[in-house]
Symmetry: C2
């Protein structure tokens, strides 16, 4: 009888735009008015899709995570590719890490960790990232036959830290693209082999 709701579709349609706005502007400067302007709708419409601004932000965090994982899973699953999956991931990140600027959403989130929901969303994201990297490292060690050295769990945290500092250095203009590539390649290799 009633008209069917298009809210889920609309959410999916606008989320990338919302996420980009948060990434470019940070939490404070991404006002609801500005979000609406970029989405080319009234503020009102956003509030029909999410209960409040915080929920929009948390949705953006999840979006960033999902996007990264999508890319990574494609790399890992590539059949007949050269090297271990970990090596391919490292090579990929060394040139593409942070290129969409989505890490700025994470930075924004890190200064909102008083809020339990933001905190939980971020914790979830980091946990998953670390676990993913850890599994890749463990698999790499298996394949290359050297089960020695650094605990994969610790190495995984270090890799996450490497990615984070690479983003910070990029954001602040502290390293060139070439330096960042070397950073990933050389430190990454050290952490992967782990001796």
């Amino acid at each position: 009888m009633p008209r069917p709701s298009r809210l889920p579709e609309k959410r999916r349609e606008l989320l990338p735009i919302v996420a980009r706005a948060f990434a470019e502007l940070g939490y404070r400067r991404a006002t609801t008015a500005e979000l609406a302007r970029r989405c080319d709708v009234q503020e009102n419409v956003l509030y029909r899709l999410w209960p409040d601004k915080k929920a929009m932000f948390i949705a953006a965090i999840r979006y960033v995570y999902d996007l990264s994982v999508d890319i990574w899973l494609r790399l890992v699953g590539r059949p007949g590719a050269e090297g271990t999956a970990a090596e391919r991931l490292l090579a990929y990140e060394s040139t593409h890490h942070g290129e969409f600027g989505h890490y700025r959403i994470v930075f924004a989130g890190l200064s909102e960790t008083d809020d339990p929901e933001v905190r939980a969303a971020l914790a979830d994201m980091y946990r998953r990232f670390q676990r993913f990297v850890r599994e890749q490292i463990a698999a790499h060690r298996e394949l290359s036959g050297r089960a020695t050295g650094l605990d994969p769990a610790l190495a995984a945290w270090a890799v996450v830290g490497l990615g984070t500092v690479a983003n910070i250095a990029r954001e602040l203009g502290l390293v060139t693209d070439a330096q960042r590539r070397r950073l990933f390649a050389e430190v990454g290799r050290t952490l992967l082999s782990g001796d």
Copy 2:
């Protein structure tokens, strides 16, 4: 003829309180009213000490840096201590890293990097940290006679990343104290020796 100004002293007196407020609350929630309350003065007084809220925040960033460097220089300069300075720093950080929660000021700053002054203050801080760590690593390599392996500049960035991710993991409750200690000790050792 006029009464001598006590503004510099007052600034020095209030800055630690302001910094702590920014660390505990983040930029947004650290309202000028709240800062004044914690300093037990009127908002007005803060605006006589700094031109605006942003200046208070930048002063807080510098304060955090100065405090860390003070501690580190004491550790490095300690005469007749055991191990290289780098090893002592690593040992110290493995137990004390982030204990004052001041890193939260950095997180807050990272989501305000659109502002050129905030950006410059942060860039300056990271540059100095990285340089300091790099010099310690280079000195360590000299002393221990192995000038091989990972470029100290890259290793230094990785160490900064290690500290950053340790803070994030602490903030989000993702690791125990013991795990964080192992993270510093084991990954730190790997990066120091760098093979």
